[in-house]
């Protein structure tokens, strides 16, 4: 992620440029009252028709070594992600935005411009794609399994009967899971139909979300602002059809899942 300085014995010192997002035609004073990381001042670098939003950061914290330490700290991640998100939101108020990955660092403005050049065509495409659109997140879950009364052939004393009961439980659980996955597929298809683009993201760890039960759908949908109500209606219809799936939607957000380039 960080461009490395040569020399210095591998130890990065000094300041670098944290790159938050790229937009187009962003007025240079648009972010005047928005704080960057460490309350640093946000700047807009214009290059080849694109506006790169940057601020100064300390390489002790954001250089390769610093990141290796800090990326494992939830408290650091939270603070940086929140501030980064606030900046992305602020940029989104003025036009289409392509957010950059957390901790995209360049040594200096020369480096920033080089990156913008490198990604120029992809960025233009992405900005075209997300203009006038927002991301919606929709999640669905497997319903909690009801304990099943023992089937008649699995009742009874003894080890073999015990194993038959366990087998029956396994089958019931598998059926339940299969059913839940089918519901997730169907909901995803219905919502994709009202979207410009859609993606299924990996399900989230229940310990992180605090949600009990398996997440079966972690969908991201790129929706025209003009069709947002139609999308919300589609979500409500899906909730009505599948009350057991705990379908939960949030948005519109900046188009994180559709505007971020795979950064080497």
């Amino acid at each position: 992620m960080a461009e490395q300085a040569t020399g210095h014995g591998g130890r990065l010192v000094g300041r670098g440029r944290y790159l938050y997002a790229v937009s187009r035609g962003l007025p240079s004073d648009a972010l005047a009252d928005v704080p960057g990381l460490g309350d640093g001042r946000l700047e807009v670098l214009e290059h080849q028709g694109l506006s790169a939003v940057v601020s100064d950061v300390d390489l002790e914290e954001y250089g390769e070594e610093g990141l290796r330490r800090n990326l494992e700290r939830l408290d650091w991640l939270e603070e940086v992600a929140r501030r980064h998100d606030e900046v992305v939101h602020a940029v989104a108020e003025h036009g289409p935005v392509a957010p950059l990955r957390l901790a995209t660092i360049c040594l200096d403005d020369v480096g920033v411009r080089r990156r913008v050049e490198q990604w120029h065509d992809a960025l233009e495409q992405v900005l075209d794609r997300v203009e006038g659109r927002g991301e919606w997140s929709v999640k669905a879950f497997a319903a909690r399994a009801e304990p099943q009364p023992a089937a008649s052939d699995a009742a009874g004393e003894g080890g073999a009967a015990y194993l038959r009961r366990k087998k029956a439980e396994t089958l019931t659980r598998a059926e339940g899971e299969e059913q839940a996955l089918k519901v997730a597929e169907e909901v995803h298809a219905r919502l994709s139909a009202v979207s410009v683009a859609s993606r299924r993201l990996p399900p989230q760890d229940p310990r992180l979300t605090g949600h009990v039960g398996t997440m079966t759908l972690n969908g991201a949908y790129l929706v025209d602002t003009a069709r947002a109500d139609e999308f919300a209606d589609a979500v409500r219809a899906a909730q009505a059809d599948h009350p057991e799936a705990g379908i939960d939607a949030a948005g519109p957000w900046p188009p994180y899942s559709f505007a971020m380039l795979e950064q080497p």
């Binding site: 928005v34 991640l77 939270e78 992600a81 929140r82 980064h84 998100d85 606030e86 939101h89 602020a90 989104a92 108020e93 957010p99 990955r101 957390l102 927002g134 997140s137 879950f141 993201l201 990996p202 989230q204 760890d205 310990r207 992180l208 979300t209 602002t225 947002a228 919300a232 979500v235 409500r236 909730q239 009350p243 705990g246 379908i247 939960d248 939607a249 949030a250 948005g251 519109p252 957000w253 900046p254 994180y256 899942s257 971020m260 795979e262 950064q263």
Partner: protein, 70 residues
């Protein structure tokens, strides 16, 4: 389980609910690009001092390996 459709205006989140608009997990999944993973290990700490790390991941891997080597 309550279901909801939250609509928030695109733009700067209200400072009072700063941090409340996108859940941290959702945000980190997107900003980090590869998702957030909790390691399957437990560090046991007593009186604020980390003492022992139980590598459950390795333990269970071993058991499974032995099971499939039939």
């Amino acid at each position: 389980m309550s279901s909801s459709v939250q609509q928030q205006p695109l733009g700067r989140p209200d400072t009072q609910q700063a941090g409340g608009q996108i859940s941290l997990v959702d945000l980190l999944d997107r900003l980090l690009g590869t998702g957030v993973v909790l390691a399957g290990d437990v560090v046991i700490s007593l009186a604020g001092v980390d003492l022992v790390q139980v590598r459950l991941h390795a333990l269970i891997s071993t058991v499974r390996e032995e099971m499939t080597q039939r």
